[in-house]
């Protein structure tokens, strides 16, 4: 299983990378960690005419605090760096909690945070997790810079809003408000395998314990991360009880998703897991928010 030939570019600066990407247009594919792209190329399912390797562009690897209390993660930051970052643990603990589920350590040593998101695998964990965290995506191209939301970023299975002359530069995870709790729960057949279903919940409470903001993003139940909007509507403004959470989980499972079945997981079992995992992640997020 050897890749087909391609033209290879290894720019050493962001500007050079962008120039190359713009020139190549549809012919060019960005090579970040390679942990998803290279297997696809080895299977000859991906046949890029040209690769733009970003591994020699050090300015794209960073984890920085923002003044507002959030984080900026450069697109080429290795997954393992994110996994072990104290800053991420402090400001986006759900990301830290999710990382051990993402493939295996050897993959995380090369795979990149931005690369994973830009790959937009419908069964990946991180896209749903950062969606729940209200992440914003900094994209730069020949037309300049833009920031978009998760809803705008993921456009379909393995498809994003990044244009052929553009690159993902960094991801911002906004600050978590006071009295916010988050939790990611999933079921996978094995450690490191794709999630059969994953639920990422973020709850922010006001001083009276009412839900001010709720975000629930589900993975592996649609072509992109699915925000469980009906479930969310049942939570906002409420003081949560076990029953409200159960009702929200039920809405997530029956109204918010229209999952398909595949060899790993029937549609019905997916709905069942959605019900279970939404309930579990909401329960845990609530406990953490109340601390």
């Amino acid at each position: 299983m050897k890749p087909a030939a391609f033209d290879y570019y290894a720019p050493t600066s962001v500007d050079e990378a962008l120039e190359t990407v713009a020139q190549l247009g549809y012919d060019g594919k960005v090579l970040a960690g390679g942990q998803s792209l290279i297997p696809a190329m080895n299977f000859r399912m991906a046949l890029p005419a040209a690769l733009v390797d970003l591994n020699s562009v050090p300015e794209l690897s960073y984890i920085r605090p923002t003044d507002e209390g959030g984080i900026l993660i450069g697109t080429m930051t290795r997954d393992s760096a994110v996994e072990f970052s104290d800053l991420v643990k402090a400001r986006a603990p759900m990301v830290s909690e999710t990382m051990p589920h993402v493939a295996h350590p050897q993959i995380r040593n090369r795979g990149t945070f931005g690369g994973c998101l830009a790959h937009a695998d419908p069964t990946a964990q991180l896209p749903a997790v950062v969606t729940a965290l209200n992440a914003r995506y900094h994209i730069r191209g020949s037309g300049g810079d833009r920031w978009i939301s998760s809803e705008e970023f993921y456009t379909g299975p393995f498809a994003t809003a990044i244009e052929p002359d553009e690159m993902l530069i960094e991801i911002e995870i906004p600050a978590m408000a006071q009295r916010t709790g988050s939790s990611y729960r999933q079921v996978a057949r094995q450690v490191g395998a794709q999630a059969l279903v994953g639920a990422a919940s973020v709850l922010t409470l006001d001083d009276a314990g009412r839900v001010m903001e709720a975000r629930i993003a589900l993975t592996s139940v649609g072509e992109v991360p699915v925000m469980a909007n009906q479930a969310i509507s049942l939570l906002v403004g409420e003081v949560l009880t076990a029953d409200t959470i159960i009702a929200a989980a039920e809405a997530a499972a029956t109204v918010d998703i229209d999952p398909g079945g595949d060899i790993h997981c029937s549609a019905e079992y997916r709905r069942h897991l959605t019900r279970v995992l939404t309930r579990q992640s909401l329960t845990e997020a609530l406990e953490r928010a109340a601390r």
Binding site: M1, K2, P3, A4, A5, F6, D7, Y8, A10, G34, Q35, I38, P39, N42, F43, L51, D53, N55, S80, A103, H104, P105, Q106, I107, N109, R110, V191, G192
Partner: protein, 167 residues
Amino acid sequence: MSQTRTITLTVNGAQYTREVETRRLLSDFIRHDLGLTGTHVGCEHGVCGTCTVILDGESVRSCLMLAVQANGHDVRTVESLGTVNNLHPLQEAFMEAHGVQCGFCTPGMLMSLVPFLEKNPHPTEEEIRDAIDGNLCRCTGYQNIVDSVKLASEKMAKAGDQVVATR
């Protein structure tokens, strides 16, 4: 028509400069261009772990890297750990605890364990199983591999060794 590039990299402490096709996988480069056949290939999609090597001190899949991406970097393979007449304590432990059967997964397993033991010299059974979860073995059922790692950590504690690839 495939492109080529000239790369320079350090492998097991020695520097190599070679011209390679840009599409040549690092696993093939190590095995066939450098003749270091200790690193094996099992799947070429990053799942089995057989091809694991140490890049700049961390375990990675050599089948998921292009050789050109290793330009300027430091690579260590199983050949850096010990020799037939001078086994590293980790290798000795595998021998004593029967952690090797066919031996095909073994080099990749060792290259996952070396950085792991550096960071966690006294792992529990659970931590060991987590650490080798990315390496498939079909012969041993993992049980004796876990015992080998426990034995290795004892041996290395006694010797006051750090598990560092020696060459």
